[in-house]
C-alpha cells in the first residue's frame, strides 16, 4: 500500500472541487468498509482519500409520507434500519441494510458506498432498483439525477463522471397498499456474499387481490445488478397468488446472464432467480396486506 493524503471537507462544493483537483487519484471514503480493504489489498490506489461523512447533506435521513425518502450517500446502514418509518415504508431497503456485513460494518457502511462500489452482488442495489430510487449527483457543472437502474456500468464501475460525487438517493413516496422485500441466497446464514439477490416491490389494488404494478431487480447474475423488465411488466394486473409469483420467477430468469464461479454455477444462479423472485414477491404481498390490515 502506498501512503496517501486524507481530507474531510464539510461542504459538497469543497468535496467536488477536491475531486476535480485530484482527478484520477482521489478516492471517496464514506463508511470505508470497501475502499480501505481495497487500498490495503492493492486492488485500488489512492493519492488522496476524501472523507465525505462530515458533509451534512450526505448524512441525511429524511422520511416523509408525501415527499418520500432522502437518504444521504454516507448514512450508515444501522441508522437506516434503526428508523421505524423507513422500515415500514421501504422494507426492501432495510432488508438489505440489515444483512450487509455484521453489526460493526453496518454501523459504518453506507448504501451510497454500496452503490458506488458497483459490485454485481451488492445487496442494496436490487432493492434500490425495485424501489425506483434515483441518485442525486453533484459535479463541477452542477447537479444531475441518475436512476439507480442506470448507475452501475460494469463490475466496480459506475456512471459518475470525473469530479462527480453521489450526494443522496431519493425514493418516491410510498403508494397505498404497496410493499417490498429483498432476499439473497447465501450458503451460510451470515457474513457472506450473495450468490443471487432479488429485490421486489409491488402495489396491490383496493381489494388486495390483484397486483397493480411491480418492479423486480436481480443481483449477482450479470456484470451489474439488473432490472427484470419482462417479469415486472407481466406482473401488472395479475392475481396475487403463488402461481403468479412462480410464473414471474420463470420470466425473471430470462433477465439473468450469470457466470459460473466459486459461489455457484450459472445454471444454479438462474434457478435461484426463480426461487427468490417467487419468495420476495410473496413476502412483499404479505407485507402490503399486513400494512392494509394495520392501517
Amino acid at each position: 500500500m502506498k501512503p496517501f493524503d486524507y481530507t474531510a471537507p464539510s461542504t459538497i462544493a469543497d468535496a467536488v472541487s477536491l475531486l476535480s483537483q485530484h482527478n484520477g487519484e482521489a478516492r471517496v471514503l464514506a463508511g470505508g468498509t470497501d475502499i480501505l480493504v481495497q487500498l490495503r489489498e492493492g486492488l485500488r490506489e489512492a493519492g488522496i482519500v476524501i472523507d465525505v461523512k462530515k458533509i451534512a447533506e450526505l448524512r441525511a435521513l429524511d422520511c416523509c409520507s408525501t415527499s418520500g425518502l432522502t437518504l444521504g450517500a454516507s448514512t450508515p446502514c444501522a441508522e437506516i434500519y434503526g428508523n421505524a418509518d423507513v422500515c415500514t415504508a421501504y422494507p426492501a431497503l432495510t432488508d438489505a441494510a440489515r444483512i450487509i456485513g455484521g453489526w460493526q460494518i453496518q454501523s459504518r457502511a453506507s448504501i451510497g458506498g454500496n452503490l458506488c462500489n458497483a459490485s454485481p452482488a451488492a445487496d442494496s442495489i436490487p432493492a434500490l432498483i425495485a424501489l425506483n430510487a434515483v441518485a442525486l449527483v453533484a459535479g463541477p457543472n452542477g447537479q444531475r439525477e441518475i436512476p439507480v437502474a442506470d448507475f452501475c456500468t460494469a463490475p466496480g464501475r459506475n456512471a459518475l463522471a470525473a469530479g462527480e460525487l453521489l450526494v443522496c438517493l431519493q425514493f418516491p413516496a410510498p403508494s397505498a397498499k404497496s410493499s417490498s422485500a429483498y432476499q439473497r441466497f447465501i450458503p451460510r446464514n451470515e457474513m457472506d456474499i450473495a450468490v443471487v439477490g432479488v429485490g421486489s416491490w409491488l402495489q396491490l389494488d383496493e381489494s388486495g387481490q390483484t397486483i397493480l404494478s411491480a418492479r423486480v431487480a436481480l443481483g449477482a447474475v450479470a456484470p451489474t445488478p439488473v432490472f427484470a423488465a419482462e417479469a415486472s411488466d407481466w406482473l401488472a394486473g395479475k392475481p396475487a397468488t403463488e402461481d403468479t409469483y412462480r410464473q414471474a420467477g420463470e420470466l425473471a430468469r430470462k433477465s439473468a446472464s450469470p457466470i459460473s464461479d466459486m459461489r455457484g454455477t450459472a445454471e444454479y444462479r438462474v434457478h435461484l432467480v426463480g426461487v427468490l423472485t417467487q419468495r420476495t414477491l410473496a413476502k412483499a404481498v404479505q407485507r402490503a396486506v399486513a400494512q392494509r390490515a394495520a392501517g
Binding site: 501512503p3 451470515e190 457474513m191 456474499i193 466459486m262 455457484g264 445454471e267 434457478h271
Partner: protein, 754 residues
C-alpha cells in the same frame, strides 16, 4: 454429562477450574506473535508466484535493493545447499531440500503462491512496494490440481527426481505418485464370497484448510554473536527450532524459539514457513525482522489437508456381519511428497472387525500447496467412505445403523488392517451411549429432515514431553512446560500435577516457556499433550512427593520410611502436615525442591467417537441446516471436562464446515479462486446449533489417570454423519464433498427428473 464415571476417585481431575491463561486472553494482554515488538524491528514481505507451475528462468532483485527503506533481500539461493539431506523431525524423515524449496523456490514454482523472494524494509508498506520491483522471469508449465489427473502417465510432472516407492521398490520412470502403500489382512477374495451384500462406491473430497484465525507470524533476530532467537506462533517450539536449524545448517543449540500464544493451529502450525526466511533476512540486515502472512497466503501457501479420490467396497452377510473390505485411496500431497495417505489407509477400516481386508494408498503430488496435518489428518476422508457404505449396508440389511455398527465394532483384541491389535478401547461404550441418548431416542419429524450417524477413530500418539516444577516458599508450585497451549492444556497439565501432589489446581501456576528453559517437548499435535505431558508432570509430581517425604522426615527427625502421604497430607506417627504447610518450612530443611521429568511413551491411546446429526434440506436451494448435533466420545478420563467438550464441539463444527461448504475451488488455470474467508466458507456461530456432548470414560490402561487424547477424533465422523443425514432427509447420497448448495440442488434435481 459424563457417562461411565461412577466414582469420585479424584479431587482435581474432572473438575472445571478457571483456566490460568484466561484473564490475559480475554483482556487482550496475552502476547501473540503479532504482539512482538523489539527495538529496531523491521518488516519482511514475501513475493509469491502468480503461476501454478512454472520454471524460474531468472530473478533480478537489484531494483528492489535500491527501493526506499529496503534493508535486505533473499531468494532460494540464500539457503544452504540441502540436496539429499534427510532430517528426523519427530514426525518422520524429511528431505530438507523439499522443505527449503517450499520456503523459497529455486528452479521451479510448483503452486500459485509459492514463495520466490523476500524483502526486509523499515516499514511493511516499503517492503510491499519493493516486492513489485523484483523481476522474475517465468516459463509457465501446464498445471494439474486433481489427484486422479496427476496420476496419469501424461500428467505434468512436478519433480523429475521422484520415483514411486511401492513397498520398497522404485518405479523406473519419475512419477507424481511418490508412494504406494499396501496393507492386507485375511483373504479378501474368500471374504467377499461369504458376503450376501456387497456395496462399492466412489468418493471425492476437496482440499480444505485448518482455517486458524491467527495467520502465521514470526520474528527472528540473528544476533552478532551468531545466536538466533525466534518468536513465533507454533504448535511446537522445539520442532520449529530443529527445522530452522536444519534448514540453515546451524546447531540447534544456537537457536532459541520463544513460543507466543497461538490463535489456532489444528496441525497447520507444525511446519515452518516464515521463521527461517526471517532469520536469513535478519542475518543480512542485522535487525530483528517480523513477518506476517496475509490470509490469502495462508490459504495459497501453507498446508491444507489433501483432496482425495476413494473407492471402497465392503461386504456383509445377511445376518449383519462384515466379512470383507477393499479400499483404494488416492490423496494429494500437494507440491512435495509426504501427505496424509498413511493414516488414511490405517483409519479406513479402523472402527470395525474386518476379518479380510486390503487397502491400497497413493501419495500424489500436484500443483497445490504442500499438504500438512489437519486434525486427525487423512482420517475424515476415509471415514466418509467407510461410514457411508456402512450406512448403506445397514439400510439394505434393515438394521438400525447403530445396531449394525455394534455388531461389528472394534474392541479389545481386534486387529486393524495395518497390523496393531487394540487393547481396551471404548467404541462399544460410545455406540451404546449414542443409542441410549435422548437425541437418538427422540423422533425427528417434518419434511426434508433426516438423521445420520457415523463413527470415527484416531490414534492419539505419545512421544516426547518434558516438564519442570519448582515448589515455592508459599506452598504453590510453578510448572514449566514446553507444550504450547492451543486447547486449554495449561489447565489440564496443571490439574494433573495438582492431583498428583494433592493440592488445589489454583496452587499450580503453569508457564509455557522457550526452548532454553525446559526439556525437549514434541509438538502440540496428535492429541498427545494431555496424555504425554500429563504423564511427564505425573512423574514430576511423584519426584517432588518423594523429596517432600524426605524433608518431612528431616523436620520431624523420624525415619524417612515412616513418612507417608495421602491426599497431599504428609504424616509420620503423630506428625502431620499438608503439602502447603510443609512447603513453607522447606527453607529450614534443605532448601527448595525442584522436580523434572522427561517421558517418551510409544504407541497410541486409541480414541473412538460417534456423532449424530439432524439436518433439514431446503429442496429449492439445496441448503442444509443443522437442526441438532451430538458428539459422543471416549476421553479415557476427562481432566477438565469443559475443554474436552470444547474439543468435541470444535472438531464437529470444523467437520460440518468440511461437509457442507469448505473447499479449495480451482479454476482451469490451476489457481485457487477463493483464498479468503469470504469465499472459503467456514461455518459461523449462526450456522450450527449448540453442539451437544456426551463424554464416555473408558480409562486408558497406559496412562496413570486413564487419559486418551481427545482433540482429533471429533473431526473424523462429521462429514460422514452429515452425508448420511442428508441422505435420510432427501434420498440422495452425496459422495462428492463438499455438499455445497449448487451440488446438492443439482443432485436433487436429477433425482426428481429420473
Amino acid at each position: 454429562m459424563a457417562a461411565g464415571s461412577d466414582q469420585k476417585k479424584y479431587k482435581v481431575i474432572g473438575t472445571r477450574p478457571i483456566r490460568p491463561d484466561g484473564a490475559d486472553k480475554v483482556t487482550g494482554r496475552a502476547i501473540y506473535g503479532a504482539d512482538v515488538q523489539l527495538s529496531g524491528l523491521v518488516h519482511g514481505k514475501i513475493l509469491r508466484s502468480p503461476h501454478a507451475h512454472a520454471k524460474i528462468k531468472s530473478v533480478d532483485v537489484s531494483a528492489a535493493l535500491q527501493a526506499a527503506g529496503v534493508l535486505a533481500v533473499v531468494t532460494g539461493a540464500d539457503f544452504p545447499e540441502l540436496k539429499d539431506k534427510i532430517a528426523q523431525l519427530g514426525e518422520g524423515a524429511v528431505n530438507l531440500a523439499y522443505l527449503s524449496g517450499n520456503l523459497l523456490a529455486r528452479d521451479k514454482v510448483l503452486y500459485k503462491g509459492h514463495a520466490v523472494a523476500a524483502v526486509a524494509a523499515r516499514t511493511a508498506n516499503q517492503a510491499e512496494e519493493a516486492l513489485k520491483k523484483i523481476r522474475v522471469e517465468y516459463e509457465p508449465l501446464p498445471a494439474v490440481t486433481w489427484v486422479l489427473d496427476a496420476m496419469q502417465d501424461d500428467a505434468p510432472l512436478l519433480h523429475d527426481d521422484i520415483h514411486t516407492d511401492s513397498m520398497g521398490n522404485q518405479s523406473e520412470k519419475p512419477s507424481n505418485i511418490s508412494t504406494h502403500l499396501h496393507f492386507e489382512t485375511g483373504d479378501v477374495g474368500q471374504g467377499f464370497k461369504q458376503a450376501d451384500v456387497v456395496i462399492e462406491r466412489e468418493f471425492k473430497t476437496a482440499s480444505v484448510h485448518q482455517g486458524y484465525i491467527e495467520p502465521h507470524v514470526a520474528t527472528a533476530l540473528w544476533n552478532t554473536d551468531g545466536r538466533l532467537k525466534i518468536w513465533t506462533s507454533t504448535q511446537g517450539s522445539f520442532t520449529a527450532r530443529q527445522q530452522t536449524a536444519e534448514l540453515l545448517q546451524i546447531p540447534v543449540s544456537q537457536v532459541t524459539v520463544v513460543p507466543c500464544e497461538i490463535g489456532g493451529g489444528f496441525g497447520g502450525k507444525i511446519s515452518v514457513y516464515l521463521e527461517p526466511v526471517a532469520a536469513l533476512l535478519s542475518r543480512k540486515c542485522g535487525r530483528p525482522v517480523k513477518m506476517t502472512m496475509t490470509r490469502e497466503a495462508c490459504f495459497e501457501a501453507t498446508g491444507p489437508t489433501p483432496g482425495s479420490y476413494m473407492r471402497v467396497k465392503i461386504g456383509a452377510t445377511k445376518e449383519g456381519k462384515i466379512v470383507a473390505g477393499e479400499a483404494y485411496l488416492a490423496y494429494d500431497a500437494g507440491a512435495y511428497p509426504g501427505g496424509m495417505i498413511g493414516p488414511g489407509c490405517m483409519c479406513v477400516f479402523s472402527c470395525y472387525e474386518f476379518p479380510n481386508a486390503v487397502v491400497d494408498g497413493y501419495d500424489v503430488m500436484l500443483n497445490k500447496p504442500k499438504t500438512q496435518a489437519y486434525r486427525a489428518p487423512g482420517a475424515t476422508h476415509a471415514a466418509l467412505a467407510c461410514e457411508t457404505i456402512i450406512d448403506e449396508l445397514a439400510e439394505k440389511l434393515k438394521l438400525d445403523p447403530i445396531e449394525f455398527r455394534l455388531m461389528n465394532a472394534a474392541q479389545e483384541g481386534t486387529r486393524r488392517v495395518d497390523g496393531p491389535v487394540y487393547p481396551r478401547v471404548g467404541l462399544i461404550e460410545c455406540l451404546e451411549a449414542a443409542k441410549a441418548s435422548e437425541h437418538y431416542q427422540s423422533s425427528l419429524k417434518g419434511p426434508n429432515r433426516g438423521r445420520g450417524v457415523a463413527a470415527g477413530f484416531w490414534f492419539n500418539i505419545g512421544l516426547k514431553s518434558a516438564a519442570t516444577a519448582n515448589v515455592n516458599a508459599d506452598g504453590c508450585v510453578t510448572l514449566l512446560e514446553g507444550s504450547t497451549d492451543i486447547g486449554g492444556s495449561r489447565a489440564s497439565i496443571a490439574m494433573q500435577l495438582a492431583e498428583t501432589l494433592g493440592i488445589a489446581a489454583e496452587d499450580v501456576h503453569p508457564a509455557v516457556v522457550d526452548t532454553d528453559s525446559v526439556g525437549y517437548t514434541d509438538v502440540t499435535g496428535g492429541s498427545r499433550v494431555t496424555f504425554a505431558t500429563g504423564m511427564a508432570v505425573y512423574q514430576v509430581g511423584r519426584k517432588i512427593r518423594a523429596q517432600m517425604m524426605e524433608r518431612a522426615a528431616e523436620l520431624w527427625e523420624v525415619d524417612a520410611a515412616s513418612v507417608s502421604e495421602a491426599d497431599g497430607v504428609y504424616s509420620s506417627g503423630e506428625h502431620s502436615l499438608p503439602f502447603k504447610e510443609l512447603a513453607v518450612k522447606l527453607h529450614e530443611i534443605g532448601g527448595p525442591i525442584v522436580g523434572s521429568a522427561s517421558v517418551n511413551p510409544q504407541g497410541s491411546s486409541n480414541g473412538f467417537g460417534v456423532q449424530i446429526a439432524d439436518v433439514e434440506v431446503d429442496p429449492e436451494t439445496g441448503k442444509v441446516s443443522v437442526l441438532r448435533y451430538t458428539v459422543i466420545q471416549d476421553a479415557g478420563q476427562a481432566i477438565h471436562p469443559s475443554y474436552v467438550e470444547g474439543q468435541m464441539q470444535g472438531g464437529a463444527v470444523q467437520g460440518i464446515g468440511w461437509a457442507l461448504n469448505e473447499e479449495y475451488f480451482y479454476g482451469d488455470d490451476g489457481q485457487m479462486k477463493n483464498a479468503s474467508f469470504l469465499d472459503y466458507r467456514m461455518p459461523t456461530a449462526l450456522d450450527v446449533p449448540m453442539i451437544e456432548t456426551i463424554i464416555v470414560e473408558v480409562p486408558n490402561p497406559e496412562h496413570p489417570f486413564g487419559v486418551r487424547g481427545v482433540g482429533e477424533t471429533p473431526i473424523v465422523p462429521p462429514v460422514a454423519a452429515m452425508a448420511n443425514a442428508v441422505y435420510a432427509a432427501t434420498g440422495v447420497r452425496m459422495r462428492d464433498i463438499p455438499m455445497s448448495p449448487p451440488k446438492l440442488w443439482k443432485a436433487l434435481a436429477e433425482k426428481e427428473s429420473s
